[in-house]
Structures are given as structure tokens and as C-alpha cells.
């Protein structure tokens, strides 16, 4: 007698199916539309681990420095723009506009990231690299 093994959905109450969840990211579940941020600071490092890259920015307040972690696209996309882990311009000043994480931590999704000279962040890096513009 074969016993058909079915996962016990009832007890676990999984949300599925009704919504074809196509992508990894439900940005609105992680970041808060009611908490827009705009910060300026210097770049200290970046983490190029999937599913998202993270740019670390030191933002100086009146008396202290706060490290913001800005979420960017998958590093695979950055590699395809010709960027590598060496591309990050440590110390560069950037301005980040985005939305803060819902848990109040100093994380934000980076909607717009520009250098002090107004150049858009990743494109600016590509130009700095001499990478051919896509």
C-alpha cells in the first residue's frame, strides 16, 4: 500500500497560489512608503552578495556618524554593467533617496543614488571604469 505523502498545508497556512508571486521582492513589505529618506554621506564598502548588493554610507549627523545600508540591484546586474568588486569608489560622497526599512533599522532601498557631481551612481562608476556605455 502506497501512502501518498502530501504536505500538511492546513496546519501551516501558507499563502500561495492565489497570487502568482513572480519575483523575489515585495519591496512594500520590507520598506516603508511612509518613511522616505534622503541622506548624503561617504561610501565605505559594498557587499556584492545576492540577491541584492548593499552600499554602506557613513552619514554624519551633528555629533555622530550613522551607517546606512543602501540596497541596490543584484550584483549580477552590476557585473553585466562591467563593474567588479574593485569598482566601488571608497570615500566618494553620494546622495541617496529611498525608503527606510519597516523595522526602523538604518537600511533603505536606494531609489536614486547620485554622486556629488550629479552623475547617477552605477552609470558614473561605469564611466569611471571606461566601460562601454550599454
Amino acid at each position: 500500500m502506497t501512502t501518498k505523502l502530501t504536505f500538511v498545508v492546513a496546519a501551516m497556512g501558507l499563502v500561495l497560489a492565489a497570487v502568482p508571486v513572480r519575483a523575489h521582492h515585495a519591496f512594500a513589505a520590507e520598506f516603508d512608503q511612509a518613511k522616505p529618506i534622503k541622506v548624503q554621506g561617504s561610501v565605505t564598502r559594498w557587499e556584492l552578495t545576492n540577491p541584492h548588493s548593499w552600499i554602506y554610507v557613513d552619514v554624519k549627523d551633528a555629533d555622530k556618524t550613522v551607517t546606512w545600508m543602501i540596497e541596490g540591484a543584484s550584483p549580477n546586474n552590476l557585473y553585466r554593467l562591467g563593474l567588479t568588486k574593485e569598482s566601488l569608489p571608497i570615500g566618494s560622497v553620494i546622495t541617496v533617496e529611498g525608503y527606510q526599512a519597516k523595522d526602523g533599522s538604518t537600511r533603505a532601498v536606494g531609489r536614486d543614488i547620485v554622486f556629488a557631481n550629479g552623475k547617477k551612481f552605477f552609470l558614473g562608476l561605469m564611466e569611471a571604469e571606461g566601460a562601454p556605455k550599454q
Binding site: T2, T3, K4, L5, T6, F7, V9, A10, M12, G13, L14, V15, L16, A18, V19, P20, V21, R22, A23, H24, H25, A26, F27, A28, A29, E30, F31, D32, Q33, T49, N50, P51, H52, G72, A73, S74, P75, N76, N77, Y79, R80, L81, Y99, A101, K102, D103, G104, S105, R107, V109, G110, R111, D112, I113, V114, K120, F122, L123, K133, Q134
Partner: protein, 343 residues
């Protein structure tokens, strides 16, 4: 977080990818895949060293073609060359955020909370239709058949059970958020409209391997005509067995779990995929989906894949998954705040 907003964000909020980078190889303009009509010259694909049709390479399925046909087009299955050119121009000229019926812009669609794609070099002018089809789903209807009442009920029951518990724990979150099964990882492979989700095919004697970039999803498919694994073994991606029919690799997949739920289907999902090298730079992918406990009849879609430049990079979703922790933590913070206000 309502279901509707989750749906809209899920549909739109994709990992920003190669809207810009994954342009198919030069020369792969709209319609060249569709030009391989029966009347066209037959093309003999190259062979692997052990004599099988060579499907190997790195492929992209980026296309503007929507999955389902717009209602206004009725049973019109193909555009003319002129219509494709006109529609493509309208898309290239459109204002950011302007929706164009008949084209799936995917991540280029407007979203409030997400990256500004221009900082990643997004260029609207790179977007293309990869075939002259009006929808990826073929046939006079061009849409998924209506869902059977029992399937609607089954799916509604599942959602109802989770209602009020959506943020209780990891197991209440969508599979994609948990990095167990990302939307783009699921089979059959459906373009998420301009995501750079490359496919690498590597063939060895008796096997064809599909490595789909997102979440390093790997399927090693035997082509020796063996039976499926026993029915009590259920797998997230089902169990695939393959065989060659002429120049076409036919892959038959069953044994899905009841949580896989591709487009709301059940564990009875039966998927047949066909891979044919239609040209040096084109891999024609056709799939038929059937589940008599979900849809009244089977349905079929056709997706041309274009050769592109690799390599495929590692995409490790779970290892870097800070998102689910932030979401659960955010829910706990919101509960604490609400409790404090209540006191």
C-alpha cells in the same frame, strides 16, 4: 498587506536586472524567430560530440510579448511586421510610467518603492519583441483557460487559513520571499518581462542540464526514457524525464508538491516542455501545462530564447536573504508599537 497590493508589487517588483544588459545577440530583431514558419528553409542544428542535437549555450528569454493576449485582440495570434514595428516604436517613445497594451514591460512598469532603473543604465530603446506573437500563450484564446471552481476554492481556502497570520513566521510568507522557490525559478520557464535570468544548457552523454540563473536552479534531465520516480516522492520542481524526438528534446515533468502551485495549480500538474534549436541563435521553447483539477483543458505557450553573452553568475538567494528577517522584524516592531499605543 493586502493581497491586491502584493499582487501588483509582485508582478512589478522584480529584481532589477537586465532590462539593459540582456539584449539578445545582435541581429536577433523582432520576428526572426517567428520567421521560422513551416514554409521556411529547414535548418539542421549542430550536433554534440556524441551525436545529439546541440542545444548548448547561454540563452535569454527577454521579450516585450505579454504572457496572455490583450482582450481587444480577440483571436489574433500574430502581428504583422508593420504592427510590431509600430508597437515597438510606441513603447520606445512612451513616457515613463505610461502603460502600453500588448506589451509587457515588467520591471520597467512604474512602482513607488523600488530602484530608479536609470541608475542601472536602463534604456527603454533596447526593449524588443522576440516573436510576432500577440501573446506567449498560443491558440485562438491566447489566455490561461478559466480555473475550475474546485481550484478556486482550494486556493481561496489556503489564503483564508493564512489570513491574519501573514506575518507570524517564515512559513507564512511566500515561497519567493523565503528563497525556497522564486517566481522566476519555477517551471515552466516564463519570461518575467526583461529580467536577466539567463539559462545555460550543458549536455553530457545521456543528460541535458538546464542551469537557470535565478537561485542557481539546476535541472539534470536524463534522456534515456526512464520512468518517473515513484508517486509518493513529491518535489518542488517535480520529476523530469526526457527523450529526443528528432531534433527536439521533450521533457515530461510530474510529481510536483501541492505547494508548488504554478499559477494556482495542484500536485496533479503535468508539464511537457519541448526544446528545439530553430536557428544558430534561437532556441524555441514550447510548453504544455495540464491539470484536470485546476483547468478545464491544457494550455500551451511558446517562448523563443535568444543566444546571449554569459557567463551565468551565481545567484545565492537564501544566503543573503535579509529581506525576510527585516519583514518579520518589522511586523514585530509594528505590533509592539500598537501594543504601546493601546496601553
Amino acid at each position: 498587506m493586502g493581497r491586491r497590493s502584493l499582487a501588483s508589487f509582485a508582478a512589478l517588483a522584480v529584481v532589477v536586472v537586465a532590462l539593459f544588459a540582456q539584449v539578445p545577440a545582435a541581429g536577433q530583431t523582432a520576428g526572426s524567430a517567428a520567421k521560422a514558419s513551416p514554409a521556411a528553409k529547414a535548418w539542421t542544428p549542430p550536433r554534440t560530440a556524441d551525436g545529439k542535437p546541440d542545444l548548448q549555450g547561454i540563452w535569454t528569454d527577454n521579450t516585450l510579448t505579454p504572457f496572455e493576449r490583450p482582450k481587444s485582440l480577440g483571436s489574433k495570434e500574430f502581428y504583422t511586421d508593420q504592427e510590431i514595428a509600430d508597437l515597438t516604436k510606441r513603447i520606445h517613445d512612451a513616457r515613463p510610467g505610461e502603460r502600453i497594451e500588448g506589451a509587457e514591460l515588467g520591471a520597467a512598469n512604474p512602482q513607488e518603492i523600488r530602484y530608479d532603473l536609470e541608475i542601472y543604465g536602463f534604456d527603454r530603446n533596447k526593449l524588443r519583441f522576440q516573436s510576432k506573437r500577440t501573446s506567449l500563450i498560443v491558440g485562438p484564446e491566447g489566455v490561461i483557460p478559466p480555473m475550475l471552481p474546485q481550484a478556486r476554492q482550494r486556493n481561496a481556502d489556503r489564503v483564508a487559513k493564512n489570513k491574519g497570520h501573514e506575518f507570524d513566521g517564515a512559513e507564512n510568507r511566500p515561497l519567493s520571499e523565503r528563497c525556497i522557490m522564486m517566481g522566476q525559478e519555477q517551471i515552466p520557464m516564463v519570461p518575467a518581462a526583461n529580467e536577466g535570468n539567463l539559462l545555460q544548457i550543458v549536455q553530457g552523454p545521456g543528460y541535458v542540464t538546464l542551469l537557470h540563473e535565478i537561485d542557481h536552479s539546476t535541472r539534470v534531465i536524463p534522456t534515456d526514457g526512464r520512468p518517473h520516480v515513484p508517486p509518493n516522492i513529491r518535489l518542488w520542481q517535480g520529476d523530469s524525464v526526457g527523450h529526443w524526438e528528432g531534433n527536439t528534446l521533450v521533457v515530461d515533468t510530474t510529481n510536483f508538491t501541492n505547494l508548488t502551485a504554478f499559477r494556482g495549480s495542484s500536485e496533479n500538474l503535468h508539464l511537457v516542455e519541448r526544446f528545439t534549436r530553430a536557428a544558430d541563435d534561437t532556441l524555441m521553447y514550447q510548453f504544455t501545462v495540464e491539470d484536470p483539477t485546476t483547468w478545464a483543458k491544457p494550455w500551451t505557450a511558446e517562448v523563443p530564447w535568444a543566444k546571449t553573452k554569459g557567463p551565468v553568475y551565481e545567484y545565492a538567494c537564501h544566503e543573503g536573504n535579509t529581506m525576510i528577517a527585516t519583514i518579520l522584524h518589522g511586523a514585530r516592531v509594528a505590533e509592539e508599537d500598537a501594543a504601546k499605543k493601546g496601553k
